[in-house]
């Protein structure tokens, strides 16, 4: 680990990805993710010895397909976009899951619907977590809440994508992308040989040929293929839950929040404790699989879900607990982020209720 540097989220994450051996980046400019593309483009120009390859694609449609092609050839590849671009990429998400392609996709959320604003939001939760594409598929969804976590998780994302031969979504937002923080950049990691990856397109020669195809061959075959994918998703559910708990043991009220919203809730939690309110927090780090059990375990307490949306994750919280009447919600639309005071007021209101 290096000394800490003061860096913008997008750029630090890009650097961490490069150090994870992701030399191939395909993207289309979109606020607030553009800097990832630009950082990669500069790295390609300034660090020729690292053989970085960046293509500014014509559209997000094309960028996602380029990522699919590159990742299918056994190499680590990534794109970074925001809501409108992530929407365009949904057919690709379905396709890459079906084809078992280990790509990494970053969505830096901004308020929708439509072109909306370029401020922070968490309105792509449904799309990322439930799958905005067609058919039955799931992808791991990771939600860091600091630039340090963005860097650490992006490196892990490639490993997880390869572990399960499935795309991984990194869900951040404008705040995380554009803010600057001190970060200890992770180092260069081991990168598996592209030819060694299962089903990689490498030029088969006389060996078994690898075929990336997502068309089925009748109900029986396609049913069995889907069963195989579902088994895989089940393993992901069992093994990849991540979250962090803060002072929940003695809490009377537990907040549930992720990403930049969790930072605000953390401050509100401290302010509440100072006022004698026993507040705690569960911060999901994997949004899929959702930390259902951790939330169920505090289901007898009052739960306050805070999101920069009209309420998307709150539904998964409600599904996790026995008594939905214990689940409260505080949301904000349009791009403004509630202050810690706003959240504290809400905590006091819920506790008083």
């Amino acid at each position: 680990m290096e000394k800490r540097v003061f860096m913008e989220g997008n750029e630090a994450m890009a650097e961490a990805a490069i150090r994870a051996g992701c030399k191939l980046f395909f993207g289309y400019p979109i606020t607030p993710a553009t800097e990832v593309l630009e950082y990669y483009a500069r790295a390609m120009a300034e660090r020729p010895e690292e053989e970085i390859m960046v293509v500014q694609a014509e559209t997000e449609l094309a960028a996602f397909s380029m990522v699919a092609g590159a990742a299918a050839s056994g190499n680590r590849a990534m794109t970074a976009t925001s809501g409108p671009g992530f929407s365009l990429g949904q057919e690709s998400m379905s396709f890459m899951s079906a084809a078992e392609i280990p790509a990494v996709v970053v969505d830096s959320m901004r308020p929708g619907p439509g072109d909306g604003e370029i401020l922070p939001a968490q309105g792509d939760y449904f799309q990322a977590v439930k799958g905005g594409g067609h058919g039955d598929y799931n992808t791991l969804v990771l939600a860091p809440y600091s630039i340090q976590e963005m860097c650490d998780l992006i490196q892990e994302a490639f490993v997880l994508a390869e572990k399960y031969c499935n795309p991984v979504v990194m869900l951040v937002d404008s705040t995380l992308s554009k803010m600057r923080e001190a970060v200890a950049l992770p180092g260069y990691t081991e990168v598996p040989d592209p030819d060694s990856k299962p089903n990689a397109l490498r030029g088969c020669g006389k060996e078994e040929s690898h075929h990336i195809i997502t068309s089925g061959d009748g109900a029986v075959q396609w049913g069995e293929y889907n069963d195989m994918l579902q088994e895989k998703f089940k393993k992901m559910r069992e093994n990849e839950v991540r979250y962090e708990s803060y002072e929940v043991e003695d809490a009377d009220i537990v907040m549930v929040a992720y990403g930049s919203m969790a930072r605000v809730c953390q401050s509100a939690m401290r302010m509440a404790r100072e006022k004698g309110i026993k507040a705690g927090m569960i911060r999901p780090i994997s949004l899929w699989p959702f930390p259902k059990e951790a939330i169920a375990a505090v289901g007898d307490k009052k739960i306050l879900v805070c999101e920069l949306s009209a309420g998307q994750m709150v539904e998964d919280v409600q599904l996790s607990v026995k008594d939905r009447d214990n689940v409260y919600f505080h949301g904000k639309l349009g791009g403004a982020t509630p202050t810690a005071d706003d959240i504290l007021s809400k905590i006091e209101e819920v506790i008083g209720a």
Binding site: F26, E58, A68, A72, P194, L201, G203, C204, K206, S215
Partner: protein, 248 residues
Amino acid sequence: MKTVYEKPAVFKEAVTNYCAGCGHGIVSKLIAELIDEMDLQEKGIMVWPVGCSVLSDRYFKMDTFVAMHGRAPATATGIKRARPDKLVMVYQGDGDLVSEGMAEIMHAAIRGEKLSIVFINNAIFGMTGGQMAATTLIGQTASTAPLGRKTETSGYPMRMAETLATMPGVSYSARCTINTPARIRECKKMIKKIYEMQMSDQHGLCFLEILSPCPTGWNTTPVNALDWIDEKMVETYPLGLFKDEESE
């Protein structure tokens, strides 16, 4: 005893899903012959479209990627940029290249991507049952143009080979057909050329448009379909070499 011809070794056993007389069959066979002759099983990675040839990957003992509809040039870009030493062999039809994938082919050409693209033009959407394509001739009937394509509502046939030839990122652009033995032999030479040009690593996009019979889509017999190419298609889609960097 001398073998004059045997089925290419790279072909798998399966009977193709193509209709009797389909041009895809002839062109797939030529590509398979070239794979055998030029020893491309290790060098080549094939990118297939969505269309009648969507199942073609299962006929070849090659590493293949059946791309999302229209996205083949983008997917191929990803593969070629990741593995520049490979011969990335792209194959697309009308729906895939001219409609769904117009942005992708144009930008692969704009960027001068080092790809070899075989474009099968049969002036119709075959797989989905014979709808009008952007390449359908004026007056030609299709399921979505029962009275024949009208320019007032549906515009004009798109000439891809000529259009791409105007672009600096395109190194080779030609149009041929496969309705006689001589033309089939010529077509094979041109496919070989676009593969060799990519392998030389000295050129950008290499494009070959092939006018191809679609008896089912044209509602006729295979033999009549071959004639229709000469009677009707060539007038709108002239055969010829529109650009060849190597001969400039």
